[in-house]
């Protein structure tokens, strides 16, 4: 073993408190060290040349640089030693600047500690072995999970760049939440007018395949090579034949709740969610279908001009391979009825959620854009009334620890302002509109101005305070609350109360995260790899995030993130082969006792059971999946798993070296 030790002065950054020259000379006594040198600026070009020269002339096979933090220059010096023909992983840094010279004032002390740090680095470098990055072939197809605006944007960007994209959507149409919206803030432009052309683009793009009414069943593999099982749910309609004529829906005698309209209207057992649906295909909700429930009917089958009805249809499983996955599964509306009992738990008909109101405002919605009091709707001999007094309450299921949602949902302040304006617009300027708020968060471009407009131009009355109780009295909804600015109790007789329900993680998000092996937070939102520096990546290489599945987001942010994610995916898939870090775990199968604890604890799914020639099974690390965290290493009871570059023996040796010599 021929180790070279290079001690940096870093000008006076190190040399002021560490005798770089002296400890370099002392380091020559350490086992295996054959060359030492002190350099004024090791990272400078002459400094790097000095290392390379010494490697060649002294035939060094391992190098220690005692200088700054490895976070600063580890990569630099790895390249340096590689340039001199040495394996870049036969290198170790001793951090004698940030961890020594800069935190000590006394030179003898500083020198002594710096020498100890060099000893530790030498002890570690002795245990290192050459490592080689692995290369894997990359599949260039991309899976986008979720067909909302995030998924659509990402899919279009990727498809435009020439990649094949599969969009998997759990509903029968893509579009997501945005398709349910009437207008968008702060421009009040029509949501459908922006979205539906993009939906059509998606369906017509030669590089995009939409798999609607499908879900992810299983994900195997690793970055560049995922194998995904997709379950196509049985719609009881042969979509290859269905022409989307809606005849079945018109003739179907069975009513069913209308999820697209947030339950404020009904649809039919066989349905197409909305006229602009993509793909426009019918599906049967078997729980409400008379044929499935009672064994008679088959009206749809009779009326279908395309002969597309297939009552015997079963779920179908498709296996596809992808190089990268974009998760864009969106969010759900906070189920306020389960939490806010003081607001009637959903039993007061004139208390509705923001998204329900959105459907009511929509010209193609169940009320054709007329704002009506639900308590007066759908009754014989009663003319539906327009509300005269509308109260909005913000922060429902947001910023509320008592319902387990301490976070801000990001969109409610703005959509409330939008809906308040639209109320005035649809019903008339004389309508009384109140908004109860805690704080107004109008942080985006044009947002603050928009809220101001609601207040000044449209005369929406903003009341700072929380509503303590809602109850029915004489055909009105009593709104009892506090105006904290005036310090007064407020009571309003409202005709309609709209709760600005916040955003909650999509139903089934955590199960999907487990299938994908990505992490999620306590609320069920998926976790980015780093909140600032890697906001689009997950901790599982090759899986990226877009939209509100990561955290509550409005449309501009969602679209921006989706495009960013697409760029990340393109960056990844631009390469034909991927290099993977060699500093990963490795199993000594001779000693493996097949207890599978490694598989249990790995956050990434890197260890697998490998069948050996004798029929036994031993642990094996899939190199491209392993991220090198070492959790399995610390868990393996026989210590047969080791972490290359951070070996257990090297950890022990560093400790022993510094304590015993």
């Amino acid at each position: 073993m021929r180790i070279g030790v290079f001690v940096c002065h870093c000008g006076t950054n190190i040399a002021a408190t560490v005798d770089s020259e002296g400890i370099a000379a002392r380091a020559g006594e350490l086992k295996g060290v054959v060359h030492t040198e002190d350099i004024i600026y090791t990272c400078s070009e002459p400094g790097q040349h000095a290392i390379q020269r010494a490697i060649r002339e002294k035939d060094l096979d391992r190098v220690v640089v005692a200088a700054c933090s490895p976070h600063m220059h580890e990569v630099t010096f790895r390249r340096t030693v590689e340039g001199a023909g040495l394996n870049p992983y036969l290198f170790e840094m001793a951090n004698i600047r940030e961890h020594c010279s800069w935190i000590h004032a006394d030179k003898p002390e500083g020198s002594e500690k710096a020498y100890d740090l060099i000893k530790m680095a030498v002890a570690k470098v002795r245990d290192l072995e050459p490592l080689y990055a692995n290369e894997v072939e990359v599949n260039k197809d991309v899976l986008v999970i979720g067909g909302g605006v995030a998924g659509i944007q990402a899919a279009l960007d990727l498809a435009e760049a020439g990649l094949k994209v599969t969009v998997v959507e759990k509903e029968t149409t893509i579009g997501g939440t945005m398709a349910q919206l009437d207008k968008t803030f702060p421009t009040i432009d029509c949501s459908a007018c922006i979205l539906t052309p993009r939906m059509v683009d998606c369906s017509q793009h030669e590089n995009i395949e939409i798999m609607a009414y499908s879900e992810i069943d299983r994900v195997q593999g690793y970055v560049g090579n995922f194998t995904v099982d997709i379950r196509k749910k049985a719609s009881m309609v042969d979509w290859d034949k269905c022409i989307g004529c809606e005849l079945c829906q018109q003739k179907c005698p069975a009513k069913a709740p209308d999820a697209f309209n947030e339950g404020i209207a009904t649809t039919k057992a066989i349905y197409i969610p909305f006229p602009q649906a993509v793909p426009k295909r019918a599906a049967i909700q078997v729980d409400y279908c008379r044929w499935f429930q009672e064994g008679k009917c088959r009206v749809c089958e009779r009326v279908c001009p395309a002969d597309a009805i297939d009552y015997k249809q079963q779920d179908e499983y498709v296996q596809k391979e992808f190089g990268a996955i974009v998760v864009a599964t969106g969010q759900d509306v906070f189920p306020w009825e389960e939490y806010y009992h003081e607001y009637g738990s959903g039993r007061i008909p004139d208390v509705i959620s923001g998204l329900q109101y959105e459907r009511m405002l929509n010209a193609s919605g169940p009320t054709h854009g007329h704002v009506l009091r639900p308590s007066t709707m759908g009754q014989k001999d009663v003319e539906p009334e327009e509300p005269q007094t509308v109260v909005f309450i913000q922060c429902i299921g947001s910023r509320d620890e008592s319902v387990g949602r301490p976070y801000c949902s990001n969109v409610c302040c703005m959509y409330t302002a939008k809906q308040a304006i639209l109320t005035k617009d649809h019903v008339g300027m004389e309508t009384e509109v109140y908004v109860f708020y805690i704080d107004i968060r109008a942080f985006g471009k044009g947002y603050e101005e928009f809220v101001k407009r609601a207040q000044t131009e449209f005369g929406v009355k903003y009341v700072r305070g929380r509503v303590s109780k809602l109850y029915e009295e004489r055909g009105k909804v009593k709104v009892r609350g506090m105006d904290t600015l005036l310090g007064k109790q407020v009571e309003i007789d409202a005709d309609l109360v709209v709760l600005a329900s916040g955003i909650t993680a999509a139903d089934g998000a955590s199960e999907l995260a487990q299938r994908l092996n990505i992490s999620y937070d306590q609320y069920g939102f998926f976790k980015e790899s780093h909140p600032k520096l890697r906001p689009l990546e997950t901790n599982t290489a090759g899986i990226f995030l877009a939209g509100a599945c990561q955290a509550p987001k409005d449309i501009p942010t969602t679209v921006a993130q989706a495009s960013g994610t697409a760029a990340k995916v393109l960056g990844l898939l631009a390469k034909d082969k991927l290099k993977t870090s060699p500093m990963i775990a490795r199993v000594d199968q001779n000693r493996c006792v097949s207890c599978w604890k490694c598989i249990e604890v790995c956050p990434f799914g890197a260890p697998e059971k490998e069948e050996l020639r004798d029929g036994s099974y031993k642990s094996h690390i899939i190199e491209t999946v392993c991220q090198g965290c070492g959790i399995c290493v610390a868990t393996c009871p026989v210590n047969c798993i080791d972490l290359k570059g951070f070996g257990t023996q090297s950890v022990l040796d560093q400790i022993e070296e510094v304590l015993l010599t």
Binding site: E98, K113, M583
Partner: protein, 152 residues
């Protein structure tokens, strides 16, 4: 400072010196090691009796490594990683937390004073907190002095 003159030739590490204690730190690469870097960059003075071993993640630490450090003569061991929830590898510090907690609770049974071991979380941005943690910990160990005639 008898060692001062010996520094280039002497063999006695002043770490062994009178009144000195030997404290080993095992730090995760992503948060606490970077936090200690930050403390250095900010020139925050820290005790001398401390040597850091860098590991990728606290989840990579086996409590036995810490016991081994004690066996080899450490007077104190400080483990620090990312705050729970902020692990670079998503879950490593959650696994570590259980193991380290058990170790912390078992050490008194083996005759260790509680002040000799601590595990904590310091993020990359908490340079000041790092200074405080390491200073207080080493003060605690110094109060107890070196371990002698020990079982482990």
């Amino acid at each position: 400072m008898a060692q001062a003159t010996d520094i280039t030739t002497g063999t006695t590490a002043s770490w062994d010196g009178e009144g000195r204690v030997k404290v080993v730190g095992i730090l995760c690469n992503w948060c606490s090691y970077a936090g200690a870097d930050g403390a250095g960059t900010a020139r925050l003075r820290q005790p001398f009796d401390f040597r850091i071993v860098r590991v990728p993640c606290t989840g990579r630490i086996d409590p036995l490594h810490i016991l081994k450090a004690f066996e080899k003569g450490a007077d104190g061991v400080l483990v620090s990683g990312c705050h729970p929830g902020d692990c670079h590898y998503a879950e490593g510090n959650y696994y570590a937390r259980r193991k380290l907690e058990l170790l912390e609770r078992m050490l008194p049974q083996l005759g260790f004073e509680a002040e000799r071991f601590k595990y904590t979380w310091v993020s990359a941005s908490e340079a000041q907190r790092w200074q405080q943690v390491v200073t207080e910990f080493i003060k605690g160990v110094e109060k107890l002095g070196p371990r002698e005639g020990r079982a482990l």
